[in-house]
Symmetry: C2
Subunit: 317 residues, 2 copies
């Protein structure tokens, strides 16, 4: 590599190498010009070995502070609940001018937990790629995970605009689209588009489990009627989600209240045989799907295309 | 076709030619030995023309009574709410020895609405294939829709066992697996595995729509975090779902009550920062997903495999 080909970042440190960390590595390698060296840290010996075996990192460290030493980009890819402790651990080892970011699904709590530890001269630009699957761990990642998805950056007030721009360019290079907003607005938007759906999914799966008059095996056997979709979302990492709900409490409780009010209307309509109200609300909901497909945020293929696309299945309905 | 190759049914009449009716036609044609002639009825001229153009039916009638004349298998594939009226319309035209069935997602109401009209000597065996997509209409169907899915038959007491067996063989021929149970038990099982999930999905999509502090475009833009999965379910046919909720009222309201109780537990755990309870409930929910994949009722591919399966994506996580 000549000086003219200097990568955007010399040394990327991934703190935590799970689904997101490993996907960042795959996507950065795919691009070529984003990073020179990629190092990572995990407290788990097996994760370090896997990360080395898959070539996700050039060096795997047991501690975060070793990994961040000499890095000009640090991305914390751990559950939200430990980000504050990590920021405290790495603070003294951060290189002046480095950018520190994260990938957590809540942002106000990250700013509050990590922000105070970040030293003067280091740029703190929290981020959240809205991408993922229900799988976890270093083997779950892949280069295309961020393609066409949105990453939200939430720089706290006073952060160097050039640092935000540079991190934005990095995420664009990973294949993502990028939006910048305040941490508070992020948390409100995600509460409805992600946190509440997950909470509801976890809950309905558990309701099914707790029924006495329907057996577990029946719930599984006949799940194709809708239930199985909820179980996919509810298969997401429990530690990650525990931390999300504890760290976006107010927004989630607010959305839950709205959800409950709306559900009471549906419940009442069913009870009172009010077919017109049901039809109207169901029709409105159908329109939203159209918008998501037009925005390129989901496939129009029936059933997510999960039927392995038989020849006779229409691509669009 | 020689006498030895006589098909299982000489003339299949499909009353209503939407997603399910058209898929039955495709799957029956694929098998070859199940039916001789396929006829259908639809009150909508455009549907009749489409059905003829796609070869779904040999003859398309405007009325159900014309279609059932001479048929030895009649399957009513309309929204649940009109099945009673159809049974009344066709009653005088049914051939002795014919089997009359349906595909509705509720069964007690179907038995109550259709049963009284079915004349002596005609076998009434209600059915429900647990298969579908969010798309509707005669062009949405395809031959593989029922492959590996379950169809539940709910013969009322006193129905000829041979008729139930014959209809079972027909559904097996379409690629489905078949279970027999009482209408009441069917309605309870489906209330949790299908009806409640759909109600919740409709509701959360509408909650998102009604928010003032998050714009519609943001909800759509950032939907990949979980919300978009709900919108797929909520894109299902509004008329069909209105009828389901009005016709399985008691079981749905019962499940909704259980769901609300469980949701209160989660809500309380978030409010009280009770991370242990959240982690435990989320872990339990994750296990259910495993069971569904092991039972062959969903794909293990991450994100339903909807990423068009890039080479670097793992098939299993």
């Amino acid at each position: 590599m000549t000086a003219a080909d200097k990568p955007m970042f010399e040394r990327l440190a991934l703190i935590g190498i799970g689904l997101i960390g490993s996907s960042i590595s795959h996507a950065a390698r795919r691009h070529g010009g984003l990073v020179g060296e990629i190092v990572g840290s995990s407290a788990t010996e097996k994760t370090r070995q896997t990360a080395l075996r898959l070539g996700l990192v050039d060096t795997a460290y047991a501690t975060a502070k070793e990994a961040v030493t000499g890095a000009d980009l640090v991305i914390v890819c751990t559950p939200v609940g430990v980000c504050g402790r990590i920021a405290s651990d790495i603070a003294a080892h951060l290189q002046p001018g480095a950018i520190v970011s994260d990938v957590g699904s809540v942002k106000s709590a990250i700013v509050a937990d990590m922000g105070p530890h970040i030293p003067e001269g280091v740029h703190f630009v929290p981020g959240h790629p809205i991408a993922g699957t229900e799988h976890s761990g270093p083997e779950a990642g892949y280069a295309e995970l961020f393609d066409g998805r949105w990453t939200i950056l939430t720089p706290p007030e006073g952060v160097d605009a050039a640092a935000t721009e540079k991190l934005k360019a990095f995420w664009l290079g990973l294949g993502s689209k990028v939006e910048v907003m305040t941490p508070e607005h992020h948390d409100l938007v995600l509460a409805i588009t992600s946190h509440l759906p997950h909470l509801i999914a976890f809950n309905i799966v558990n309701t099914a489990e707790h029924l006495k008059r329907v057996t577990d095996s029946e719930v599984i056997q006949f799940s194709a009627g809708g239930f199985r979709d909820f179980t996919r979302i509810a298969a997401s990492d429990p530690t990650m989600w525990r931390d999300i709900f504890l760290n976006n409490k107010d927004a989630v409780l607010h959305m839950l209240k709205r959800f409950g009010e709306d559900l009471s209307v549906l419940q009442g309509a069913i009870r009172d045989d009010d077919g017109d109200t049901l039809f109207r609300l169901f029709s409105e909901a159908r329109e939203v799907r159209r918008g998501i497909i037009e925005a390129g945020q989901d496939t129009a293929s029936p059933d997510f295309g999960r039927l392995a696309r038989p020849k006779s299945a229409p691509e669009n309905g």
